[in-house]
């Protein structure tokens, strides 16, 4: 398929709904026709890229009996009632197609990708929409560095003509913090991070205490490090083990999680892992996350027993990554609000 060159015009910004209001009083799409065409172009290019690479497109259910245990991610809850379930079966809308895709990988499907709408409750703002599209893919036999090379290639191909994408510089999470704050997340005390935040930021949330480091790291990433990445393309690699999520842990001089994130012009665009394949560790992480949920008064979530079983049966060594597709459109079209990159953002549903 030949892609015609699109003429970019500024989006009709007056049509972009304000994120601090959810007044639903306009039938029209919020994205301009130009932006809707850019979405189509990027989707077609992504599919063409993976076809050339021999990566299989899959699609998996959005509804699952299991939810996301990560305390920082809330699933939408739904339910089924009807034949075979007179009492009703609780169901979650997926927050990522990851678990189904890993079950496919464990079944021997080889490299796969998916373009999926995913759902996260409570996330609405200039860079967030509760329903968004995720590009997720898995590469058996690749470590996270080989996958980062492929991300560079995919983005250069996909953004051609929209954004001059150059392969991203890679920096370890540790060095990133050391260079920006002088602090080492692996050895400095929580109080040192608090002190830095109190001195450098306009304000720090009153309810943050010294019991946990991660909220302070998140505060500094969002309020100090990310804002310094304007006009940069950067992979941040090897996260603190407390932020491993679903990445495997590597024992270097210090333990690091083989997780990475891609920041493009200060926007968090991709998150990837050298995937954890150990069923026992996976089960432990699910339980730990539910314990954290219990401690903070959040609802405990049914964790995915099928994923644990799939890992027990054997997940091939692989890396996987997800890219926020709507944010990619936003960057390609030069928009500053995510709502202008989505035909019908939350304010119009």
């Amino acid at each position: 398929m030949r892609l015609s060159k699109l003429i970019l015009e500024p989006a009709n910004t007056s049509a972009v709904p304000k994120t601090d209001s959810i007044d639903n009083n306009d039938w029209r799409p919020a994205a301009s026709l130009e932006v809707i065409k850019i979405r189509a172009t990027l989707l077609a290019r992504i599919r063409s890229f993976f076809e050339q690479k021999g990566v299989l497109e899959v699609d998996t259910p959005a509804l699952s009996r299991f939810g996301c245990t990560d305390p920082a991610i809330e699933s939408f809850r739904s339910g089924y009632r009807g034949p075979h379930s007179a009492d009703g079966l609780p169901l979650y809308l997926h927050t990522s197609p990851e678990f189904f895709m890993k079950r496919l990988l464990a079944a021997g499907c080889g490299p796969i990708y998916q373009l999926a709408h995913v759902f996260r409750n409570g996330e609405l703002g200039g860079k967030h929409n509760p329903e968004f599209m995720m590009l997720e893919w898995y590469r058996p036999g690749m470590d996270h560095h080989a996958l980062m090379d492929e991300i560079d290639a995919l983005l250069a191909f996909t953004l051609d003509g929209f954004f001059d994408y150059q392969p991203a510089r890679r920096i370890s999470y540790r060095r990133w913090f050391l260079e920006a704050t002088g602090l080492d997340p692996w050895s400095d005390r929580v109080s040192a991070f608090r002190q830095f935040a109190e001195q450098q930021l306009a304000s720090v949330p009153a309810s943050m205490d010294d019991t946990e480091l991660d909220p302070w790291l998140d505060l500094l990433v969002t309020h100090w490090l990310e804002p310094r990445l304007a006009d940069q393309v950067l992979f941040v690699v090897d996260y603190p083990p407390s932020q491993a999520a679903l990445a495997r842990i590597r024992e270097d001089s210090v333990a690091v999680a083989e997780r990475f994130e891609l920041f493009l012009n200060g926007v968090e665009l991709a998150n990837g892992f050298h995937e954890l394949a150990d069923a026992g560790q996976q089960c432990q992480r699910f339980k730990n996350e539910n314990r954290l949920r219990e401690q903070s008064g959040q609802t405990v979530v049914d964790y995915d027993e099928h994923l644990v079983a799939a890992l027990q049966s054997g997940l091939p060594a692989c890396s996987g990554v997800s890219i926020g597709f709507d944010r990619l459109v936003m960057l390609a079209a030069g928009l500053s609000e995510l709502g202008a990159a989505i035909p019908f953002p939350f304010q119009r549903v």
């Binding site: 601090d20 860079k127 967030h128 505060l219 999520a245 994130e261």
Partner: protein, 189 residues
């Protein structure tokens, strides 16, 4: 004590910060994909007018500020307080010099101002954008010079001093932009 959670934040919401009533100007949701969510807000201190930035963890609550903005008519100054009246209820309130601040030099009896009340007490007064005031003192007008070039100081009935064109005389009524303190024109009859 009424409170708001971060989920209720939006432009115009009145909250207490550092003991002062404030108004939210802008609210931004900030969250790493797999991390803590924050509300980053710009707020205006309604007593000082100063704009500051504040970050809250999502789910935190803040005390609500009992703030009301109402249109009130300026009645008179008794030497210490400026008295205003609600044109609908005829209720009168007295604002002190801190609340009236710079607005005092534009306050003319009968003019309708926006008075901000916190717990029923006035904390700020905003005069209309344009006011009509009589010149009480200025150098004699230069007849025939309507160019407006140069200009001269003129004292108005409220005590404010503005630059006016040379042709303006004592007892003339001039229109002034209270936001800039600049002469706009002569009052049309």
């Amino acid at each position: 004590m009424a409170t708001y959670s971060t989920n209720e934040f939006k432009g115009g919401l009145k909250i207490m910060q550092d003991g002062d009533p404030c108004s939210i100007i802008e609210n931004e949701f900030v969250k790493p994909g797999k991390g803590q969510a924050f509300s980053r807000v710009k707020i205006r201190n309604l007593k000082t007018g100063r704009v500051i930035e504040r970050t809250f963890k999502s789910g935190e609550t803040v005390e609500a500020a009992d703030v009301m903005e109402s249109d009130m008519q300026y009645l008179y100054n008794d030497g210490e307080f400026w008295h205003f009246m609600d044109p609908e209820t005829y209720e009168q309130i007295a604002a002190d010099a801190t609340a009236v601040a710079d607005a005092s030099k534009w306050l003319k009896e009968q003019d309708v101002c926006q008075v901000t009340l916190w717990n029923g007490v006035p904390i700020s007064v905003i005069t209309p954008n344009f006011v009509m005031l009589t010149v009480t003192e200025t150098d004699p007008g230069v007849r025939g010079d309507t160019s407006g070039g140069g200009g001269k100081p003129a004292t108005l009935e409220t005590g404010a001093v503005v630059r006016v064109p040379l042709f303006i005389d004592v007892d003339e009524v001039v229109k002034v932009d209270t936001r800039t303190g600049e002469y706009v024109g002569r009052a049309k009859d």
